[in-house]
Structures are given as C-alpha cells and as structure tokens.
C-alpha cells in the first residue's frame, strides 16, 4: 500500500495552499476531501443550470497576493475584480453609500452629517494605522511567549519592535482597539446612527457577538486588512465565484504532481506509538502518510478525528471551550433579472457593491438578542452582493446570482435541531426584508439555496457552521489561537499538524494559515520551500 509523505484532511483553501507549498517543496502530498468537489467554504457550485453560486464565502480581499504569486494562481485561472463600495438602505426611503472616490464618499456622508463626513478621514487613518501593524504579522508564525527558543524570542522582539514604531498614544489605541466593541469605537468618531450601523457591519460578520460586545472592533480590522492589488481595505469578486480560488489552487497542486481524492470522508486519524501515521476513511480504508495535516477546524480534528486518550487533558479542555459558535446563514439566489431598488438613483454604482438594510445600531444589536435567545433574527442583518453585475461568467446574460449572508442564525433553535420547515421560515424573513426594498423581488427568483448552520456544518464540515473556524476575538488570536502552546500549527500528536482557519491568523479566505503551516512543517523536515515569498513590505 502506498505511503504518502503528507496526507491532507480536507480540500479547503488553506488545505490546498499548504498542499501546494508542500508538494512544490518535493513532498508527495495526497489531499482527501469528503465532498465530491474541493473548495471547502470557497466554492462555485452550479446548483441550478447556468448559474454558479459562491455558496459559502462570496467576496475576496484577504487572500494574500504573495500566495497567489508563489503558487502561480493567475496562470491557473484566478482573477479578482475590485468592486465599488456599497450602500445601506434606510427605512425612510433613503440610503447611504460608500464610494472609492474620496470626495464622493465625503459628499455622500455629508448628506447625513457634515461633521461625520469630515470625521471619516480620521477614522480611516486610525484603522489604517492598525492594519499596517497587523498586516506583516499575518504571514509569520505567532511567537510562543513561553518558549525560550531563539526563533520565538526573535519573533517576540519583532512584535515588540513593530509595536515600538507606534507613538505611545497609538499603543494605547491599539490595546483599546483589540478589546473594544465596534459600537464604542465608532461612537468616538461619528454621531450619525446609520453611518455607525453601516461601518459596524464588518465588526460582526461571522461572529456570534453583537456590535455592542467587546472585541468586535478587532473583527472589523480583520475585514479591513485585506487588499485588491495593493489597494488596502478593498474587496472584490473572484471571477467565476469563490470556487475560482480553490479551483486555481487545485489546478496548481495537480500541475506540480499532487493527488486529490474526492468523496473520501475521514473517520479517524491513525496513530502508532502516539504518532500520526495516516487516516482511516469512513469505509474503513486506511491511507498511510508520514505526516497528517488537518484543514478541518480544531474541534472537528481533536474532538472527532483523534482519540481523546491520545491528547493531554488541558488541551482537550481548551479545544472544547474554543469559541466557535454558529452565527450566520446564507441564501444563494438565481434571479431572472436584476432587482430594482427604487431608493437607488439610476446609474448608482452601489448595485455592484455590498447592500444592507440594517440602518441602526439598535436594530443590529436586537438581531443579536434573538441569537442569544436561540432564535434566528426576526429582523436580520443581511450582507447582500450581486457579483454578476461585474462577472459575466456566473449567470446567463441578463440573469443574476445574488448572495445573501445573513446574521444571526444559531446552530440550534432554542435547544432543538433545525428542521426543513425552520429553514424555509428563516429564508422567508430574509426574502421579505429584501422585498420591502425591492418591489417584485420574489417574482424574479428562479432558484434559491438556503443554508443554516446545520447545512453549512453538514456540507463544509465547519463546526456549528462557524465561518472563521473560531471567533476572531483577542482571547483567540496570535499565540492563543487555537490553544496556548499549540499556536504554531503543531499539535500534541507528533506528525499531526493543523493548517485551517482555527490557526493564526484566522478566518476568511486568506490562505495565510495554510502557508504558515507549510512553512512550519518544512522546518520540521529540515526542508526548504521551492518558493515562499515573505509578506510584502508595509512601508
């Protein structure tokens, strides 16, 4: 029986990134994916003829350009198209938009408040300063502060030096930023509720917290530190849907000689004398590997795939309590024609960006209150995009694909499992909300896929359907992600590594965890990557 150098559990974007780097370094890598397609939460699926759905993740900004280059993803078909701003509709029939153009953006905000219009620059400056601090850390293994290894000490010193470049005022600001609620943070800059509600959305996406919960300011930062071709903070559409990212990775992987097996559900990680030696598939087949790398989240990996008695008690305790709570759902809709939003003037670019309906902080927090009580939000927060306004490859001409990210949506409903009827009722609250602002919306719907945390967990394998493989709060970042002492992609089981978003620097279609994990594995093997660019300079 063939023995691989590396067996990868799961073909999500981080698994494929790590697999690519390892294969290119000269290892023989096998990617095992339980679904009949690869991609994890970055997929484009034709669920109705002629339409491609980005049915989990739906926009792209965080994916590191260094990785795109190293793995030759453009050659394998990846293209990311920047889009312009977006808007939130207000209940009184107006909207507030954001624009790439600085002066248009200011004039738009000035419709609501001249003060806020001019305050935006200060806000953008402060957030950008924090992004500049974080960005270089994404592509580095987090230092272990309790280790005395020279590398950890030097990484800690690097962190200290980066921090030292701040003025004392900015240092204080950083600590506040990493721990504050997005609501409190925005209060320091803006007076207008709808402006705050608009900007706060990046602070709650994918997080089981409300805008008034401490820690959400950092979540906002996480959504701002990406880029499209050097334009920091910009978001774009992957041409062909988010599956284009993982298809390019899979193509690059295979081109360098890697093997992918789909339809291979993994039941257990095999160990011998405490060391990982491969995996056992659901049908009992054993697949052997010198190393096993898990792209699955930390809970799925250690609470389902590894025998608990192989793990230290404290570790298991920490994994059990790693916060990875389902908070969102998703509607993927095929539309017969472009929906109309009478509030938007003709020719507005907003239709090509992200659209929202939650126009006050209180509505956003109330939506979270429902989640706390174990209900999906009666008045949900929706992040809606129509990528086909810029990407002609995802729907027939004149028809459109719409992605609606919906929050909040609990993993269980008041202590019981979701039913199909619950799911349909959930979808209806969202469609109703859209239809309130877009007359005739229901009539345009040709097909719709509805995903609650139940569907996301069942298909993608994300525990509780948490899109980040663990919440992005300060207690779960850097050397605490996922577990203190195990933040460097290694695990208590020798030969078993983690490479998914449960590890530093966290979730989003970023690829950095996969890349960093590959770097650590190669270090352990005393091997060098064929090509692994350091993080681009932030100058």
């Amino acid at each position: 029986m063939k023995k691989y150098d590396v067996v990868m559990i799961g073909g999500g974007h981080n698994g494929l990134v790590a697999a690519c780097y390892l294969q290119r370094a000269g290892l023989d890598v096998l990617v095992l994916e339980k679904n009949d397609w690869v991609g994890g939460a970055a997929t484009s699926r034709e669920l109705t003829p002629g339409f491609l759905y980005s049915n989990c993740s739906y926009v792209c900004s965080l994916f590191r350009p260094e990785i795109m280059r190293d793995l030759e993803l453009p050659k394998h078909g990846l293209q990311v198209i920047a889009y312009e701003g977006g808007a939130v509709f207000t209940r009184d029939g107006d909207y507030i938009a954001s624009y790439r153009d600085h002066d248009s953006h200011r004039r738009e905000f000035a419709r609501y408040s001249k003060r806020d219009a001019e305050a935006y620059d200060r806000y953008a400056r402060d957030v950008t300063r924090q992004c500049r601090f974080i960005q270089p850390l994404l592509m580095r293994t987090a230092p272990d502060p309790f280790s005395f290894k020279p590398r950890d000490i030097s990484e800690l010193l690097y962190l200290g030096k980066k921090f030292g470049e701040f003025s004392p005022h900015d240092m204080a600001q950083t600590l506040r930023f990493w721990t504050m609620s997005i609501s409190d943070f925005l209060d320091e800059y803006f007076e207008t509720d709808v402006i705050k509600a608009y900007l706060a959305l990046s602070g709650i996406i994918g997080t089981a917290l409300g805008p008034m919960s401490p820690g959400t300011a950092y979540v906002l930062l996480h959504h701002y530190m990406g880029e499209v071709d050097g334009s920091v903070g910009a978001w774009g559409y992957a041409r062909g849907g988010m599956g284009a990212v993982t298809q390019a990775l899979a193509s690059s992987f295979k081109a360098s000689g890697g093997t992918i097996r789909t339809g291979a559900d993994i039941a257990k990680v095999m160990t011998r004398s405490g060391r990982a030696t491969g995996v056992i598939l659901a049908d009992g087949e054993e697949v052997r590997g010198n190393l096993v790398v898990s792209n699955a989240d930390v809970k799925r990996t250690f609470l389902k795939l590894v025998e608990e008695d192989a793990l230290p008690e404290t570790f298991v305790h920490r994994v059990k309590h790693f916060k990875m709570r389902g908070s969102s759902g998703k509607l993927n809709i095929a539309l017969d024609s472009l929906p109309e939003f009478p509030a938007l003037p003709k020719g507005s670019s907003c239709i090509r960006g992200d659209l929202h309906f939650t126009d006050s902080m209180e509505r956003m927090e109330r939506a979270y209150d429902d989640w706390k009580a174990g209900r999906y939000s009666a008045d949900p927060f929706v992040d809606m995009v129509i990528p086909t306004t810029l990407d002609p490859t995802m729907a027939p001409p004149g028809k459109h694909f719409m992605s609606c990210f919906v929050q909040y949506c609990p993993p269980q409903l008041t202590g019981r499992d979701w039913t199909d009827a619950d799911r349909d009722a959930f979808a209806d609250t969202v469609v109703s909300q859209i239809a309130d602002y877009s007359p005739g919306f229901r009539d345009r719907i040709l097909h719709m896929e509805v995903r609650t945390p139940r569907e996301i967990e069942a298909e993608v394998g994300l525990t509780e359907g948490n899109i980040f493989q663990g919440e992005l709060t300060f207690d779960q970042l850097l050397f605490n992600r996922p577990v203190p002492g195990y933040a460097q992609y290694r695990t208590p089981v020798p030969g078993l590594y983690l490479c998914g978003s449960s590890t530093h620097p966290g979730g989003g279609v970023m690829g950095a965890p996969g890349r960093n994990a590959a770097a650590e594995i190669l270090r352990d093997l005393k091997m060098k990557p064929a090509e692994m660019s350091p993080a681009h300079d932030v100058i």
Binding site: E118, R122, G347
Partner: protein, 406 residues
C-alpha cells in the same frame, strides 16, 4: 441633527458630479486653451489655462486671476469666537483686529501641526478660517465650553485671488472705492451686485495682490467685473502650476506638500511641530493656553525638535524637487519638498526639510543629488546647496502704500 429626508434626497444627485465645479468654472472653462485640469479638494481646478510659463509672468508683470474657491472655509462666530480661536491656534488672535487677516497654524495635543491657514477677522466676533484640509470634527470638539458657532461654508463662498503689479489698478478701475486704503493684511467689504464682496490685501505670491470672497451666486458677476476692468491692465486667468512657482519664490509652504498634516499621517514620525516647518514665529508663548503649547514648550526646552525647514539655493539651473539633501556629500540630511528655477531671482531655489542638527548647528557643506530624466536617461548630479533665508524674493510693490497704479 441629521438633515430631514427631503434635504437628504435632494443631495443624492451629488453622484452625477463626482468632480465639483467651482462657481467660477464657466468662465475659466471658456478661457481654457490647454484643457488641463486637476482635482483640488474634490473640485475641478485648472493646472494651466493657456501656458504655465506665461501664466507665471502674468503674476509678476500684470494681473492674474486664480480661483481659490476649493479652499476649505469655516465661519466661526459668537461672543467667544476670539477666545476660542486663541485656544485653538498658536498665534495670538487678541492682536488681530476686525478688518485684519493673519496667517496661522493649529496643533494637536502633541504639538503637531494639524494645518496652516489664514484667519480673517470679519467683525468683532466673526471670523473666517481658510485652509487646505478639512477639520470640522476637530473645530467642533475644541469648541466645547465656548459660546461659538462653527459652520463649514466652502461651497457657499466663492473665492478668487487677484495677484500681480496691476491688481490694484484693476480693482480701482472696477470701481471698488477706497481700495487704495487697504494695507497688507487688511480687509474690507465692498458693494457688489446687490451684495457684498470681502476684499483682503493678501495672497500666496509675494507680490502685490488681493483675495476676494463673495457668495457663490455673485461669483460670475464679480469675475466679469474684474475681467472687464482688467482688459487694459493685462488680466489673465491662471492655473496652479504658475501659482506654485510664485509661492515657492515667496517661500510659502503648502500643507501635505512641504509638510504632512498631523491628522493625515499614517506613520507616527511624519507629523511636525511648528518649529520643524518654519512656523516657530507664529507661536505665541505669552498666551497662557493654546492647544499643543505644553508639548511645544517641552520640545523647545528639552531640545527634542527633530526637523527644520530651510530655504536652499542650489548651484546650476536644474530644479531639484524630491531630491535628497546630503551633508558633506555623504551623510543624508533631508529632502527637498519644492524646487524651481526662479525667474525673478535668477537662481535655482528650493524648500527643504532637514533632520536636526543639519540646518541648525550644522549649516554648511550641503549637497543635493539631482536625478534629471533626459531622453530616457538619468543625468545624475551632485550640486552644492547653500541655506538662504526665505522669501527668496522681496518685492517693494507688495507692501507699497498706496499701491502702485501701473
């Protein structure tokens, strides 16, 4: 207070004009031969109108009209306006008087310059602050505890600078009676088109000149009045390229060109104190309290000031903009932020920011490395530079009283 729905809806149409046109735009567009526009604070503004070099000579020989409407303007009014501005800005506003203008700057708590600008005292308790960047949150937050109102009035008020030796003749011909009594930095109101135009004897050229402010609705009639009166006095419309040459000769600095304003810097070390950008003379330490006072005082006392802004005269005639300044040809000492060949001084001049003690204790043996791209090849030159006082030119006609009638 958030504006009501009708007001907000009416303003939605801003997206149809992503570049605003100033109130003078129809006239400038009609005169424009080069069709050479750039964006100034969201407005379409002329880089040149007919020929940037000839436009410069219009400033120095005749009269030049330069549209300054995109300047950000704040109206600050109320019983505490003077006290408020004294707390806000580094200069002593008590020494200003109604009908006068002064150049000033304001700082954050760390003594870093937020912007520079001109403060017009329109009446005992009404002021207008003109500047490059936008500061409404800062101005409003600073007003807590003061009985003062602050309104941003950039779009409502049109401004035009009339600069050059015949500018006084143009205004006299245009019938602004009493204009001859205006001394430098004085302002007065004059009747125009059923309303009022505020004219100050100020400018950004170091030449004889005036700045005129009117409500936007009266902008075109004001332009026409000046244009008609100026016909025999060589009046021309000019763009920023020509003005920039004149302002460098006059030694004036431009925010976010010669220094970075504190609220726009991403890098902590880029902010500057007044003493670091040649504005130490504005700072009035006699004032008991103004923002940044303590930080500036400490920096002076502890000698922690890091930079200094100097005028340079560079050998040869190749402008050195963006060049690195060296001490003894080897040690990096600073950066040239603006440079031209000065037609008036017949010298190669520059404004530079040096890292102390260069420019303070060490004042000799500076060199400038110029990379001049000529037909796809860099001509690399190391040229000797001498620190000289600003302004680089001094024109008697600027301050003559009464002004010369050319």
């Amino acid at each position: 207070m958030m504006p009501d729905l009708a007001t907000r809806l009416a303003q939605q149409k801003h997206i149809t004009t992503p570049r605003l046109e100033t109130p003078f735009h129809p006239r400038i567009a009609a005169l424009s031969e080069t069709n050479d526009w750039y964006t100034w604070a969201g407005y379409k503004a002329p880089h040149s109108v007919f020929d940037e070099e000839l436009e410069y000579f219009a400033i120095r020989s005749m009269a030049a009209l330069f549209d300054i409407s995109p300047m950000v303007k704040y109206r600050i009014a109320g019983p505490d306006a003077e006290r408020y501005l004294n707390r806000l800005t580094v200069r002593n506003v008590a020494k200003l008087a109604a009908g006068r203008v002064h150049y000033t700057a304001w700082c954050d708590d760390h003594g870093h310059v937020l912007d520079d600008g001109t403060l017009f005292q329109l009446s005992a308790d009404t002021f207008r602050l003109c500047c490059q960047e936008r500061h409404l949150p800062w101005l409003l937050d600073s007003a807590i505890g003061f009985d003062v109102g602050i309104e941003e009035e950039t779009t409502e008020i049109a401004g035009v600078a009339l600069q050059g030796p015949t500018s006084f003749a143009v205004l006299s011909k245009a019938g602004f009676e009493g204009i001859e009594r205006l001394k430098p930095f004085q302002l007065a109101d004059f009747a125009h088109d059923g309303g009022t135009v505020t004219i100050s004897r100020t400018g950004f050229t170091g030449d004889l000149g005036y700045e005129l402010f009117v409500p936007a609705a009266q902008a075109l009639s004001l332009w026409d009045r000046l244009w008609t009166a100026g016909r025999l006095h060589g009046i021309r419309a000019i763009g920023y390229a020509a003005l920039n040459r004149a302002r460098i000769e006059a030694g004036f600095i431009v925010s976010n060109a010669d220094f970075m304003t504190a609220e726009t810097t991403l890098r902590a070390d880029r902010a500057r104190m007044p003493d670091e950008i040649g504005l130490d003379w504005l700072v009035d330490m006699e004032k008991v309290n103004f923002n940044g006072r303590k930080a500036i005082l400490e920096a002076r006392r502890n000698q922690t000031l890091k930079h200094v802004l100097v005028g340079l005269e560079i050998e040869g005639n190749i402008p050195a903009d963006g060049a690195i300044v060296y001490h003894r040809r080897k040690q990096e000492a600073g950066l040239v932020t603006a440079a031209i060949w000065s037609p008036l001084a017949k010298r190669n001049i520059a404004i530079a920011s040096l890292a102390r003690p260069y420019g303070t204790r060490l004042t000799e043996d500076f060199w400038v490395e110029i990379y001049a791209m000529r037909e796809l090849q860099y001509q690399k030159m190391m040229k000797r530079a001498r620190i000289v006082p600003r302004p680089f030119i001094k024109l008697d006609r600027r301050a003559a009283n009464p002004p010369g009638l050319f």
